[in-house]
């Protein structure tokens, strides 16, 4: 066994050039082969890659899908997103526990199955969903998952679970997945017909400066959330000091409720790669990396094959599309389950083979990014839009959408609406019109932009979806009558508590305290001081956290305090005695009572 391990680790490390920068790939391979990255394996990897063992251990302990303890042959990660919960994930969980005879976080005694929870994996429109090894399974019920477990036990492979593949390219043999696209409305930018290489050739006919100018003319702003001008970002990266430069495509798509990048990569992979190639030309780069979240590992082979086709067609490699002197290639880097890796500097750390650590800014990635070189990180949808801009024109692009937010936006909708799925709509659409479109008119609340965004109430349904009003990276979660918005907020805080990288105290500890205090109010054990405490603590976490995760993690509470204040006020108690209502002395004495066999003398 350990001989095996040594041979395997040596082999994998060699395949990755004994490069500690490829730690993600190395650990993924070892995890897949041995179902864990054992302490022994970590030592070996460190030796082979000539790096500190702490770097290996840092990586293994950081990412959700790595473990030091041996996992089962089949690992079932059930999605514990709030929408999945609404759609019955508790039943699925119960069925799994019964069928396997173990709890979450455990492995069956025969070593066959491991059960775990994982945050939103981009399937809330077909929830409840789970990831079984690398296969995504959707629209689960207790009965369905039982049947799957039985099949697997009888020797079926995970691929055998796919009986009816999803729509569109999902049925392509390279994907062959039960995941569906659910594209509801197609717009002119992303989902209109497009021919390969047309945009690229149009761009290559210009100078890099002209390309950047054209993107500026289009008014394109980043689709990943922050909404920074793409043209400007490229200009800064192009202008930054350094021979080598990099393009990175952010396909981490970790914001709960967002799944539009999955559909773009499934249906329009060429557009994305073409956008990345144009970007490479514009900033003067020879290499692009697409960082694909670990949950989308099932797409890796497919994306690699699309890249291969593009190389064969001369659209990647030396002298791209016949452009003398422009060499450019792209590789796909897989993540391993960490929301914070969507933050651009953490994404870069992850690509460099370390923990997904956020870096202090400045310097910005445009100055000092991947391997210390100027890097432009852009979202999947941003690159796809770039491709369209060069097929049509910047002018054409800027004519769609609203002032300040040009073009269209893909919205991924889930929750209490009749037609969950993907909508490509022009920027500036009123939320109420959008709700009509997706069949969510009777919503009592809509989470715009995921947990880090804002939970809006019906009074705000007249606002419009654009950067300067209701900004969203694409996540739209609809909550219908009867849903408890404070419980939704608590669930989101649970997500941030899990996903905080732990670097800074306000985020690591603050989110725990926010959730605790919120839960106190939900349980009817709060008073007005707790509301004041929440307001103060949320502000502290927001202004003192190091990165965007902590700076936005209090939003579920601040936005419900603002938009659903009555929900708090109706649950708090009068408290003239000023005792802590949540403190229950009897619950605190259980262990001592059991040990001593006597009752309290004081209470």
């Amino acid at each position: 066994m350990s001989q095996n391990l040594e041979t395997f680790v040596k082999h994998v490390c060699r395949e990755n050039g004994n490069d500690a920068g490829r730690m993600m790939d190395i650990c993924r391979a070892v995890q897949a082969e041995f179902r864990c990255v054992s302490p022994e394996a970590m030592t070996l990897i460190a030796q082979e890659c000539n790096c500190d063992r702490s770097q290996v251990e840092g990586v293994v302990s950081f990412y959700h899908f790595f473990s030091t303890k041996k996992q089962g042959e089949v690992v079932i990660w059930l999605c514990d997103d709030v929408i999945d919960e609404m759609k019955g994930s508790a039943d699925v969980a119960e069925a799994l526990k019964q069928e396997l005879g173990v709890d979450f976080g455990q492995t069956t005694t025969d070593g066959k199955f491991t059960l775990g929870w994982t945050p939103c994996m981009g399937l809330p429109d077909q929830a409840p969903a789970a990831m079984i090894n690398e296969e995504l399974v959707t629209n689960l019920t207790g009965d369905k998952i039982r049947e799957m477990v039985r099949e697997l036990r009888a020797g079926a492979s995970v691929k055998d679970l796919v009986k009816v593949p999803g729509d569109g390219m999902n049925a392509d043999p390279r994907l062959n997945t039960m995941v569906s696209n659910n594209i509801r409305v197609k717009g002119p930018v992303i989902f209109a017909d497009i021919e390969n290489a047309v945009g690229l050739k149009a761009a290559l006919a210009k100078t890099p400066e002209e390309v950047i100018e054209e993107v500026k003319t289009s008014g394109l702003r980043g689709r990943g959330g922050a909404g920074f001008s793409t043209g400007l970002k490229w200009m800064f990266t192009r202008g930054a000091e350094g021979e080598q430069k990099y393009i990175m495509c952010n396909a981490d798509e970790g914001e709960p409720g967002t799944f539009k990048d999955r559909i773009i990569l499934t249906e329009c992979a060429d557009m994305v790669f073409e956008g990345m190639t144009i970007a490479g030309y514009a900033i003067g780069s020879t290499e692009g990396v697409l960082y694909l979240r670990g949950e989308y590992a099932y797409m890796k082979e497919y994306l690699d094959s699309v890249l291969e086709e593009r190389r064969d067609a001369g659209l990647l490699g030396k002298n791209v599309a016949g452009k003398e002197g422009f060499d450019y290639d792209i590789r796909v880097q897989l993540g391993a389950g960490a929301y914070v890796c969507g933050e651009e500097s953490a994404l870069i750390s992850s690509c460099e083979g370390t923990r997904g650590d956020v870096k202090t800014r400045p310097p910005y990635p445009a100055q000092k990014g991947y391997k210390g070189k100027p890097t432009s990180v852009n979202n999947v949808e941003t690159f796809a839009s770039v491709n369209r801009i060069f097929v049509n024109s910047g002018q054409w692009f800027s004519a769609t959408g609203s002032c300040g937010s040009s073009g269209t936006k893909l919205l991924s909708v889930s929750g209490d609406c009749k037609r969950p799925g993907i909508y490509e709509v022009p920027f500036g659409m009123k939320l109420i019109d959008f709700l009509k479109m997706c069949g969510g008119e009777d919503a009592i609340a809509v989470q715009v932009g995921g947990p880090s965004g804002e939970l809006v109430n019906p009074d705000a349904f007249g606002r419009s979806i654009e950067y300067d009003d209701l900004a969203t990276g694409g996540s739209m979660m609809v909550f219908g009558p009867g849903r408890d918005v404070l419980k939704v907020a608590s669930k989101f805080l649970e997500f941030f508590v899990e996903e905080s990288c732990g670097y800074c105290t306000p985020c690591r500890a603050g989110n725990v305290f926010i959730k605790e205090r919120l839960d106190r109010i939900i349980d009817g054990k709060g008073d007005k001081d707790d509301i004041a405490y929440l307001e103060q603590l949320c502000n502290t976490v927001k202004v003192t956290s190091r990165c965007g995760l902590g700076q936005t993690s209090p939003n579920p509470v601040t936005s419900t305090l603002k938009n659903f204040r009555g929900e708090y006020e109706s649950r708090i108690q009068e408290n003239p005695d000023r005792m802590e209502l949540s403190f229950d002395i009897n619950a605190e004495l259980t262990e001592a009572a059991a040990i001593t066999g006597r009752m309290s003398e004081h209470f």
């Binding site: 000023r578 403190f583 309290s600």
Partner: protein, 181 residues
């Protein structure tokens, strides 16, 4: 006019915070010009007989008696100060919070390397208050109005805070008094 009353309590702490109170030295003479000390280990008054303006609490709560005393202070004092890190955050006693209570007792009375206890008896008398599952800082049990950091907070910190409260001014401690590195 009668002077405002100050009460103090030592809960689950080391008494270091009370020593720090005494560290105000001769200023205690100025203090008793303006306040009377009521229930406190310093004067051994055991029960509240009148309402107090300020209660100063050292230590968090590790057992039911601590809880009872703290709640009694809340009932009888207008302002409660959690004084020192044990009161505010649990401090050293809270180090046991990660370990089940049974294991703590076994280590202390049976298994510890320096323990001689052939009959393996863990003290268990009605007089001994039951321990809480976890050591709790004061603000998890009653409302606390002010927290003074430090292990212990310096005498000057207390002096400044008391003077501000007695003069009905905001408690605005200079940075030097609340900085510890």
């Amino acid at each position: 006019m009668s002077k405002p009353k100050v009460a103090t309590a030592a809960l689950s702490g080391c008494f270091g915070c009370h020593m720090s109170i005494l560290d105000i030295d001769e200023r205690i003479l100025d203090l008793i010009e303006v306040v009377d000390f009521h229930k406190s280990p310093i004067n051994d008054i055991k029960t509240f007989t009148e309402r107090c303006a300020i209660g100063i609490i050292e230590g968090g709560c590790c057992n039911e008696e601590n809880v009872a005393v703290l709640q009694d202070f809340r009932k009888n004092c207008d302002i409660l100060i959690s004084f020192g890190d044990c009161a505010t955050m649990g401090g050293v006693p809270a180090l046991r919070n990660g370990i089940p209570l049974k294991e703590c007792l076994d280590e202390a009375y049976i298994d510890g390397p320096t323990v001689h206890n052939p009959n393996k008896v863990v003290p268990n008398d009605r007089e001994l208050p039951l321990l809480l599952n976890k050591v709790r800082p004061c603000q998890e049990i009653v409302k606390i109005d002010y927290s003074l950091p430090g292990c212990p907070p310096s005498a000057d910190t207390l002096w400044e805070a008391l003077n501000a409260l007695l003069a009905d001014k905001p408690v605005d401690l200079p940075y030097e008094l609340i900085k510890f590195d």
